[in-house]
Amino acid sequence: MTTQERIMGFFNGKGINDITNETDLFKGGYVNSLFALEVVMFLEKEFKIKIKNKDITEKNFKTINNMAAVVEKYL
C-alpha cells in the first residue's frame, strides 16, 4: 500500500469517502481541530514517527498528498 492509500484508509474509516488525494480538506470542512489532532496521532502511530511542531502546518494537512509528503520525510 502506498502512503496515500494508508492515509485514505483512515479517512474512509471515519465515513469520509467522497474525497481524492488532492481534495482540499479545509474547504470541505472535514478538518477541525479535534480531527486534525486525530490525524496527527494516526500518522504518528501508523508510520511510527513523531511529527515535529514545525511540520504541523495548514499547508501540510490540506490534502492527503501533502500529508503523505510530510510522512515520507520522516521515513
Binding site: I16, F26, G29, V31, L37
Partner: protein
C-alpha cells in the same frame, strides 16, 4: 487545596431512602435528603446512583418519590459498585478524584475505595454534614453552574445520537444546527470567565489565570479585547463555553484562548480563530498568539497551526505564533455565527 466534589453517587437502600426495596418495604426518602439533593443540584454538583437492585423497580420508585430527574446515568444492577462509579465517571467525563460515594454499607464503601483511592467515601449516617463540607461548596455559583445538570442531559442525548449517526462528522455537525455567539465579556460574565480559566486545561492555549479584579479591568481596558463565546444547538444550550483575551496595541496578541471540554469536536476553536482572522483584517494589524506547551494541550497548538498561524519562536515550551495566512477565512457552514461585539 483538595479537589472540589463535582459528582455525588448515592446508594439507595438505607441511604437515599429508609428500608430495603426488594424486601417489600414501603420506602420513603430519609429525613432531609430531598433538601440535600436539591442544594447539591443548585451548586452545580452532579448526582447519580449506584444501587444493587432491580432497575425497573428501583427507577420507578425514584420517579414516584419525585427525584429521578436529578440522577444522571443511574447504575442500578448487580455489578460491583466500583464498576458503577467508573461507568458514571466515563459517561459524564469527570475524574474520580472529584467524586463522592455515599453508602450505608461499610463493605461497599471499602470495595469502591479499594478500586480507586482517589474517591471520597461517606457513611450514609454522615450525609447531613456534607452541605457544610468545603469540598461540596463551589467557589462560585454562576448561571452555568446551576444549569449544569440540564446541560449534561442535553449532552447525553447528543452523544447517543452522535453514536447512532451514520455519515461523516461534517454531516453530523450540520445536523446539530449550532449557533455560536461571540460577545464582549460583561460584569455579569466575570464569575463564569474566572471559572473557565481555572477549570479548563486541555483546550487552553496558555493556562494563564487572572484574579477576578484583573479580569474586571480587562473589560474596561482600551488595550484589550475580551470576549466570551456561547454555543447552542437543537438539543439545548451548552452555556458560555469559550473565552478569548487579546492585547490590542500596535499589534494584536492573543493571550488566552480556551474552551470547555464539552464542546470538544464541535469546531469551536477553529471558528473563533476565523473570527479573530476577520478582526485582524478589519483592524489591519499583525496578529500574534502566545502558547504554553503542557502535556495536555497539544490540540490547541494544532488548532493554531492548521488555522494559518506560524511558529516564530519556542523557548522551552513558551511558543510565539503569528497569523500568516492570506486574508481571512469563512466560517464552516455548520455554524451560524452571531457577533455581538459591534
Amino acid at each position: 487545596m483538595e479537589q472540589k466534589i463535582k459528582c455525588v453517587v448515592w446508594d439507595l437502600d438505607n441511604t437515599l431512602w429508609d428500608g430495603i426495596l426488594t424486601e417489600g418495604d414501603d420506602v420513603q426518602l430519609r429525613d432531609g435528603i430531598i433538601d440535600i439533593i436539591k442544594t447539591l443540584d443548585e451548586r452545580g454538583i452532579l448526582q447519580s446512583v449506584a444501587s444493587k437492585n432491580n432497575f425497573e423497580d428501583a427507577y420507578k420508585k425514584l420517579e414516584e418519590l419525585g427525584v429521578a430527574e436529578y440522577f444522571l446515568y443511574p447504575q442500578i444492577n448487580w455489578n460491583p459498585k466500583s464498576e458503577a462509579v467508573k461507568k458514571i465517571a466515563e459517561n459524564i467525563n469527570l475524574g474520580i478524584d472529584s467524586f463522592a460515594f455515599i453508602d450505608d454499607s461499610e463493605f461497599e464503601r471499602e470495595e469502591v475505595l479499594t478500586a480507586d483511592k482517589r474517591i471520597m467515601v461517606i457513611d450514609a449516617c454522615d450525609t447531613d454534614k456534607i452541605l457544610d463540607d468545603e469540598r461540596f461548596i463551589p467557589k462560585f455559583i454562576t448561571e452555568d453552574t446551576r444549569n449544569r445538570r440540564l446541560m449534561y442531559i442535553a449532552d447525553s442525548k447528543r452523544k447517543q445520537d452522535e453514536a447512532e449517526f451514520t455519515g461523516d462528522n461534517t454531516e453530523f455537525l450540520r445536523s446539530l444546527g449550532m449557533k455560536l455567539t461571540i460577545a464582549p465579556v460583561t460584569e455579569h460574565d466575570l464569575q463564569r470567565a474566572y471559572e473557565l480559566t481555572v477549570r479548563t486545561h486541555q483546550l487552553n492555549s496558555t493556562g494563564y489565570t487572572y484574579s477576578y479584579d484583573e479580569l474586571k479591568q480587562f473589560i474596561a481596558s482600551d488595550n484589550h479585547i475580551f470576549l466570551i463565546a456561547q454555543l447552542t444547538d437543537k438539543y439545548g444550550d451548552y452555556g458560555k463555553i469559550g473565552l478569548i483575551l487579546v492585547e490590542n496595541t500596535d499589534t494584536l496578541r492573543i493571550k488566552l484562548l480556551l474552551m470547555s471540554c464539552r464542546v470538544m469536536s464541535r469546531g469551536v476553536g477553529s471558528a473563533i480563530l476565523i473570527y479573530l482572522s476577520k478582526l485582524k483584517e478589519r483592524l489591519n494589524k499583525r496578529m500574534f498568539a502566545e502558547f504554553k506547551t503542557t502535556d495536555r494541550n497539544r490540540i490547541m497548538y494544532i488548532t493554531y497551526k492548521i488555522m494559518g498561524f506560524d511558529e516564530l519562536e519556542d523557548n522551552d515550551g513558551d511558543v510565539l505564533l503569528e497569523y500568516t495566512s492570506d486574508g481571512s477565512k469563512d466560517f464552516p457552514d455548520y455554524f451560524e455565527v452571531e457577533d455581538l461585539t459591534k
